[in-house]
């Protein structure tokens, strides 16, 4: 489906009657002083730029508050550039293309660069964040409650020096301590119900104060006694404390994790995991750069070797056939409706464009319902209850995918070929007629070449689009029916991009591996770019011909 393609008809090179460059420049020079004198325009301009600047300042402040300095500096740069472009007299062309450029930067170039960066890391499940985060997660996951220890009513307290501590009630007795000073009984403490209301020698922290220092409170560990085996009291809600003992210890100086029960030492390895001598690893890893590993693993798994070749072939066939069928049908209809003898052409043309107006993913879902084997409209009503497996038979499924894509894509081709046909000068067709060329000959030798020059770039972009037409495949067949002879969950209508979705586990069939997904997307980009570049060279030849 071609909904997201640029819809403008590329004009067939420079219009023959265009003004010579010198003339245009002269005209602009004439207009400029006039424009500078328009005060109303200036006021509007200043007002709008003030809005832009105000927005920029807001984003900068918000980014500052969040500590997102990347966004902050990009915003500053964008605002400065925008101000320069719209207030300087020397940057007229930029005034028109700057918005487009900014969109390009944000939505294309940034995304491409980020994908490129991720392709060289192992970002994915198990390597979701930084090493710091992984260490704190490992320590949190491996701090265990001392078996059989009871929950103790708890209050957060402070000594005269401002050190935080806990007061707990154990067996009716109030004990208090800090991180350095193990719990000791306190005389004269007052307990009402399960709440500690007074601890002599300590200040009870009010709730607001506790909340302001949440991080300190949740990380505070007060040893139960001098014996480390007894564990330390910690709290998660500032109401109840429990004795905990770590089973894993991080040595920041040596950068190692030690399992306190077995004594095993884990060291960070090149894959972003803590690894012991025997090769066992700890559960949480972090993101590291892995160089070209993603590119090599993409082709190393021999379970994918067979399906890959078949999917590659089908992807090319699908993209090519989609372009050819939609183009031919669109062209045929355009020629029919271009005939002045046809009545009600406007109504027909409007109707033709309807499939184009329906969102592609919706249409694909709709079609998958219509094509259902037993209960679909096509089988049940049109074919009188025939149970044809439109989406479950390997070849019919391919045919259905192409058919649905034809339905979705022909209005676009219809539109652009209508435009291009109307741009073909009539005198050329007359000349062919005078020369005695048959209708077919005229079509083949005059109309087609001119048409291809006009639509060639759009056909190439349509090819590139269909090459990555994930939505259609995902919504219509989800790649099915499955290959019965392959050992990976791929199917007869899977294309490369839906295969990437599976290989990298984004579909949930394996731990997600965004690094691998990015690497494979880059490979697909290289394929599409090569094909497009070759095709563009061909169309340039056509241009020279005309």
């Amino acid at each position: 489906m071609s909904t997201s393609q640029p819809t403008s008809v590329v004009s067939t090179s420079a219009p023959p009657g265009g003004a010579p460059p010198g003339q245009a420049r002269g005209a602009r020079r004439l207009r400029e002083p006039h424009a500078a004198g328009s005060t109303r325009g200036l006021i509007v301009k200043i007002a709008l730029m003030a809005l832009v600047n105000a927005f920029g300042a807001y984003v900068v402040l918000a980014a500052w508050a969040e500590g997102s300095f990347g966004i902050l500096w990009s915003m500053v740069a964008l605002v400065v550039v925008a101000d320069y472009v719209y207030f300087s007299r020397r940057s007229l062309p930029m005034k028109y293309i700057l918005p487009g450029l900014v969109f390009l930067l944000v939505y294309q170039i940034y995304v491409v660069l980020y994908t490129g960066y991720v392709a060289f890391t192992n970002y994915g499940d198990g390597h979701n964040s930084t090493k710091e985060d992984a260490i704190s997660a490992l320590l949190a996951q491996n701090e265990r409650r001392v078996e059989g220890s009871a929950g103790l009513p708890l209050a957060v307290i402070q000594d005269g020096d401002g050190n935080l501590g806990f007061a707990v009630v154990r067996d009716g007795e109030v004990l208090a301590g800090t991180a350095e000073q193990p719990l000791e009984p306190v005389d004269g403490a007052v307990v009402e119900g399960s709440a500690i209301t007074d601890v002599p020698g300590w200040t009870l922290l009010p709730r607001a104060e506790i909340l302001a220092r949440q991080a300190d409170v949740t990380t505070l560990r007060v040893p139960v006694s001098d014996d480390p085996e007894a564990g330390s009291v910690r709290t998660q809600d500032a109401r109840t404390g429990y004795s905990y003992r770590p089973s894993l210890e991080y040595d920041a100086a040596a950068d190692t994790m030690t399992d306190l029960t077995t004594g095993t030492v884990y060291r960070p390895n090149a894959e972003g995991l803590f690894e012991a001598e025997d090769g066992s690893t700890l559960g949480v890893g972090w993101r590291v750069a892995v160089g070209l590993d993603n590119f090599s693993t993409a082709f190393a798994d021999d379970r994918y070797a067979g399906p890959f070749v078949r999917i590659l072939a089908w992807t090319f066939a699908f993209a090519l056939l989609s372009v050819v069928t939609t183009f031919l049908l669109g062209l045929f209809l355009a020629m029919v409706f271009n005939d002045p003898r046809m009545r009600g052409r406007k109504i027909y043309r409007t109707l033709m464009i309807l499939p184009y107006a329906i969102p592609g993913f919706l249409a694909a879902l709709l079609w998958s319902g219509l094509l259902n084997r037993r209960f679909g409209f096509i089988n049940e009503v049109l074919l009188g209850g025939a149970e044809i497996g439109w989406l479950t038979d390997p070849w019919l499924a391919k045919l259905s995918v192409l058919g649905v894509n034809l339905w979705l894509g022909f209005p676009y081709m219809f539109l652009i070929t209508t435009g291009a046909l109307q741009a073909i000068p009539h005198d050329l067709l007359e000349a062919a007629k005078v020369d005695g060329a048959s209708r077919f000959r005229t079509w083949r030798s005059v109309v087609m070449p001119l048409l291809l020059v006009a639509t060639g770039p759009l056909l190439i972009s349509s090819f590139a689009f269909n090459f990555n037409n994930f939505t259609l495949i995902y919504m219509l067949t989800n790649g099915g029916p499955r290959f019965t002879d392959a050992s990976v969950p791929l199917g007869h209508t899977d294309i490369l991009i839906s295969m990437v979705y599976n290989v990298s586990g984004i579909d949930g069939s394996a731990p997600k591996n965004y690094g691998l997904a990015s690497a494979l997307s880059i490979v697909i980009f290289v394929i599409v770019a090569t094909v497009s570049a070759l095709a563009f060279r061909q169309t340039r030849k056509l241009e020279e011909m005309s």
Binding site: G70, L98, F103, Q214, Q236, G283, R373, V488
Partner: protein
């Protein structure tokens, strides 16, 4: 004039551009500004992600918490399907919520990514259904506050079948005797539905993974071998007899049962809304292979962000305000799933339907939350569908077991 129109257009589009590119990066900061600014005020603030079905119930509990402590609870409505990926992506950036609603089978992924914090239920642990706690336990630690248990059971239309069947064959016979179009309904679909078919598989003694003594799963596959092959052979027979059909999807099954076209349907409480007006009874799923038919239990609960700056409040809210009978009953009213808190479940069991599902759930097994499960789902359903459609049962099933093992080894 013309000039100024162009200018307006250019400037407008510039403004839009900047808005778009700013929005790209600032949409999250803007969202999370609230906790930081309000943290200075007395009660603090926490952010909770919920989905539509739970929104009202969580809001009610949050209102109690706000009244009791002065803490502001900000409820953010999300699509349930988006929560898992968004939580994984946003927690490391510091933008994640303090608490999110979630399903227990995300646990393996969430712990491997280090985005969830263990939660200490203390003495409260004994007040929860054991199966709910088991589901939220990973490597000996509890990572979420469970609030609802959901599982499938045999839903019976008492007008068509006055008595509960003991075995699958008996159910089919009763269905045929009732003279309805389908003797028994079990959704399958073109890509299979191993979740719904699982109790029948376990009745042949072929669980998906080997379980430890404490009920947790190992990564060792158990669905292959003779019991699995026996189940596959049985599937093929049902497919040939027409009792099970891949054309029967969820929608078709529910519609048919609603119209009285079958006395039985195997399904969960989420279907009940469609069956209003029918006189229903909930029974254990009839065994096909002689052993007990144990369905999967899914447990819903709340996770705490491992990097939450409001961990104290988040735990306080969950352990002291969401683990109460009122809160769990409110969630039950909203979602119809039996509560995970025993006291609340007892109260909810005054409804015989809920009691029926709960009784079946008590005998069921938690759905594995280990990351290996993803690989199994991919192959499992399609294989069952193929066997129902006439593929050689034993060979197809064995190939599936080999393929899953291959996927596990590659991961």
């Amino acid at each position: 004039m013309r000039r100024s129109i162009t200018l307006t257009a250019v400037a407008l589009s510039a403004a839009l551009t900047l808005a778009a590119c700013g929005g790209d990066g600032t949409e999250e900061p803007a969202e999370s500004e609230a906790p930081e600014t309000t943290a200075a005020t007395d009660g603090g603030s926490i952010t909770v992600w919920v989905d539509e079905t739970r929104q009202a119930a969580v809001e009610a509990a949050a209102a109690d918490y706000e009244a009791a402590t002065g803490t502001t609870v900000e409820i953010v409505l999300k699509n349930f399907e988006d929560i898992r990926a968004d939580f994984n992506a946003q927690v490391p950036t510091g933008e994640g919520p303090d608490i999110t609603v979630g399903a227990h089978d995300w646990l393996g992924e969430l712990t491997a990514n280090g985005v969830v914090a263990p939660i200490e239920l203390g003495d409260k642990a004994s007040e929860f259904e054991q199966v709910a706690l088991d589901a939220f336990t990973y490597d000996g630690q509890i990572y979420g506050l469970p609030y609802a248990v959901e599982n499938i059971a045999l839903i019976r239309n008492t007008a068509l079948a006055p008595q509960a069947p003991a075995t699958w064959d008996e159910a089919v016979a009763m269905g045929q005797a009732a003279g309805t179009q389908f003797p028994i309904l079990l959704q399958v679909g073109e890509t299979g539905d191993p979740y719904t078919a699982y109790p029948l598989q376990t009745s042949f003694g072929a669980p998906v993974f080997v379980q430890n003594d404490d009920g947790s799963y190992t990564a060792e596959l158990a669905l292959g071998g003779a019991p699995g092959e026996a189940f596959a052979t049985w599937l093929a027979a049902q497919g040939a007899a027409g009792t099970l059909d891949t054309a029967v999807t969820y929608d078709i099954a529910v519609e048919a049962f609603k119209n009285g076209q079958s006395p039985f349907i195997i399904g969960g409480p989420w279907m009940l809304g469609s069956f209003e007006g029918l006189d229903l009874a909930i029974d254990p799923i009839p065994s096909a292979g002689g052993q007990p038919a144990q369905p999967f239990v899914g447990v819903q609960g709340f996770y705490v962000n491992a990097q939450s700056e409001n961990a104290l409040l988040a735990n306080d809210f969950l352990v002291n305000y969401m683990a109460t009978e009122e809160a769990q009953l409110a969630l039950y009213e909203a979602g119809d799933r039996p509560p995970a808190l025993i006291a609340a479940a007892d109260a909810a069991s005054s409804d015989p339907i809920t009691a029926g599902f709960r009784a079946v759930g008590a005998e069921a097994v938690p759905m594995p939350s280990i990351p290996e499960m993803g690989a199994v789902w991919e192959f499992w359903g399609v294989t069952e569908a193929n066997i129902l459609n006439g593929a050689d049962p034993v060979a197809t099933w064995d190939k599936m077991a080999t393929d899953i093992q291959g996927a596990l080894d590659a991961a």
